[in-house]
Amino acid sequence: MNDPGIDAEVIEGSLQDPDLFAVIFQRHYRDVHRFVVAAVGASDGPDLAAEVFLRAFASRHRYRSSYPSARPWLWGIASNLIAGHYRSRARQNKAYRRVPPHPESEFDHSRETVNRVAAESDRPLLAEAMKHLRKEEAEVLMLFAIGDCSYAEIASVLGIAEGTVRSRLSRTRSKLRNLFDQIGESTSNDE
C-alpha cells in the first residue's frame, strides 16, 4: 500500500475519500485509548476512546492542515470528552446547568483525572499532593504524564506557548516535590 502521507494529508484526502480516515484510527487509536482509559477508567474509557474518532471524523473538515500531526487535535477532542464524562457522571453539572464564568472552571476535569489516578494508587502521599494542584497545573500534568504528549503537543492542545508549557511543568514538578516533603513531614510528626 502506498504511504498515505502525514496526518494532515490523510485528513485532507479523507474529505474526498472518507475511507482514508481509517488510517488516522490505525495510527492513533491505541494511544488515545490508553489516555482516555487512564483518565476515566476501564469501564467507560473504551467507549469514550471510540467516540473520539467519531467526533474527529465528523469534524475533520475543520482540521487545520497547518498541524502535520493529528495528535494535538485528537487529544483536544479526547480532553473535551473526558470533561463531558466527568460532568455527566457526577450529574452535578447537567447539560443545562451553566456555572459562573470562572477562569478556573474550564478544565476542572484535569484535576478530576489526576485525582482519580492518584486516588486509585496505593500512595496516599500522591493522592494528598494532587488535591493541591491548580487547574492549570493539573491540565499540563494530565497531558504530559497521562496523555504522554510532548511539550509542543500540549502547547497545541491548550493553545499556549511551548515555553509556557515548559515553565508550568517545571513549576508543577517543584510544587509536587515540596508538597511531598511537607505532607511527609507532617505525617511523621503526627506519628
Binding site: 472518507p18 481509517a22 491505541r30 473504551p46 467516540e51 467519531l54 471524523f57 450529574r91 464564568p101 486509585e120
Partner: protein
C-alpha cells in the same frame, strides 16, 4: 526527603499505565468508525431523483414569489444589526496601566448536592443559590480577583431547606461571607483568545470551538452561550463586540422584548433538556442580564417547569484604579 522520592511525574505516569485495548475493544471502535464512514458515503452517493428538478423549480418559484419577505430581516436581526452598528462606532475601553476592569453582578445559580449531605434519601438535592460577584481583571498582568458572597438560598422542597441548615450546609456554602480568590498568570481559554473580528470568521471559529465535543445541546445554542461568554466582564474591542452581535443575528434567536433602553433576545432548545436562554443588551451592546429557564422543569430534582436556573444582572463594567 525529596531525594528518596521518585520524580512525581514518573509516579503519576506509572499509576496511569492503562492496559492496551483488547481485540474486542479495537474491533468495536473500528466498526463504529466504519459505520460513520459508510453512513457519510451513503449520503454523498444518494442518486438524484426524478422529482428533484421539478422540486427545485418549485422551490425557486417560491423563493422568487416570497423573495421580499424572505430577505426582510427578522425583528431580532434588525435589533442586533443596530446594536452591532452602535458597538462598532463606540470608543474602545481604555484601561490605564495598573488599573482594573471591574464588573459587579447579582446572580442566582442552580446548586446540586448529593442527598446524603442533607441526610435525605434522594440521590441529589437542588436549590437556587443567590450570590454577589465582583470581578477585577487586569489583562496586562493576567491578574484576576473575584469576590463572591453567597446569600440565603431558596429551595424547591421545605424538607430540603430544613435539612440544609440542620446539616450545616449553610456553613459549607459560606453564606454571607466574602470569599476572595486571587489568580495570577491565568490565561482564560475563552476571554484571552484573539477571536476574529469578521462575523463569518468569528462564527466559524466559535463553531470550531464547540465542535470539540462534550456538550449535547444544539450547535447554535452552544455558539450563543460562547458568544455571551465573550460579552461578560471584559474590555472587548468595538470591532470584536460588533462581530459578536452580527454573529448572534445569524443564529435562530427570537426578539423577546424591545424598549428604548434594552432589547432581550432568546434562543430555545428541546434537547437534551428543554431550556430557553435569554440575554438583555442595552442599545450600545452592553450585557445587562441573562437567564436560563428550564421549560419543563426536572421531575427528578423536583424543579418546577419554567424555573430560571440561572439569572444574572450586571452592573456596567467600569475601570477601577485599585482593588
Amino acid at each position: 526527603m525529596s531525594d528518596n522520592i521518585p520524580d512525581p511525574f514518573e509516579m503519576i505516569r506509572r499509576e496511569a499505565q492503562a492496559a492496551e485495548p483488547s481485540q474486542d475493544q479495537l474491533l468495536h471502535a473500528r466498526q463504529r468508525l466504519q459505520a460513520a464512514i459508510l453512513n457519510e458515503q451513503k449520503t454523498a452517493r444518494r442518486p438524484a431523483r426524478r422529482w428533484l428538478l421539478p422540486s427545485l423549480a418549485t422551490v425557486l418559484l417560491l423563493l422568487v414569489v416570497g423573495g421580499v419577505a424572505f430577505f426582510r430581516p427578522t425583528p431580532a436581526e434588525a435589533a442586533l444589526a443596530e446594536i452591532a452598528e452602535a458597538a462598532r462606532t463606540a470608543s474602545p475601553i481604555d484601561v490605564p496601566q495598573g488599573s482594573f476592569i471591574y464588573t459587579r453582578s447579582e446572580r442566582i445559580d442552580l446548586a446540586i448536592r448529593p442527598g446524603v449531605e442533607f441526610g435525605l434519601d434522594h440521590e441529589f438535592v437542588a436549590y437556587l443559590l443567590p450570590s454577589t460577584r465582583k470581578v477585577w481583571r487586569q489583562p496586562e498582568t493576567e491578574f484576576i480577583q473575584i469576590h463572591t458572597t453567597n446569600n440565603k438560598p431558596t429551595f424547591f422542597d421545605p424538607n430540603a431547606e430544613a435539612a440544609y441548615y440542620r446539616h450545616g450546609l449553610d456553613a459549607t456554602d459560606r453564606l454571607d461571607e466574602v470569599q476572595t480568590e486571587r489568580l495570577t498568570g491565568v490565561t482564560d481559554p475563552i476571554l484571552d483568545v484573539d477571536w476574529p473580528t469578521e462575523p463569518d470568521a468569528l462564527y466559524e471559529a466559535l463553531r470550531d470551538y464547540v465542535a470539540q465535543g462534550g456538550d449535547e445541546r444544539p450547535e447554535a445554542v452552544q455558539v450563543f452561550d460562547l458568544a455571551t461568554d465573550l460579552l461578560r466582564e471584559t474590555d472587548r474591542s468595538p470591532q470584536s463586540r460588533a462581530a459578536i452581535f452580527d454573529l448572534l443575528a445569524q443564529l435562530p434567536v427570537d426578539l423577546v422584548e424591545r424598549t428604548a433602553s434594552a432589547i432581550t433576545i432568546s434562543i430555545t432548545h428541546t434537547t437534551p433538556t428543554p431550556t430557553q436562554h435569554t440575554i438583555t443588551l442595552n442599545p450600545a451592546g452592553l450585557l445587562l442580564s441573562e437567564t436560563s429557564t428550564l421549560l419543563a422543569g426536572d421531575q427528578e430534582l423536583g424543579i418546577p417547569a419554567d424555573t430560571a436556573i440561572l439569572s444574572v444582572d450586571y452592573e456596567e463594567t467600569r475601570i477601577a484604579d485599585d482593588l
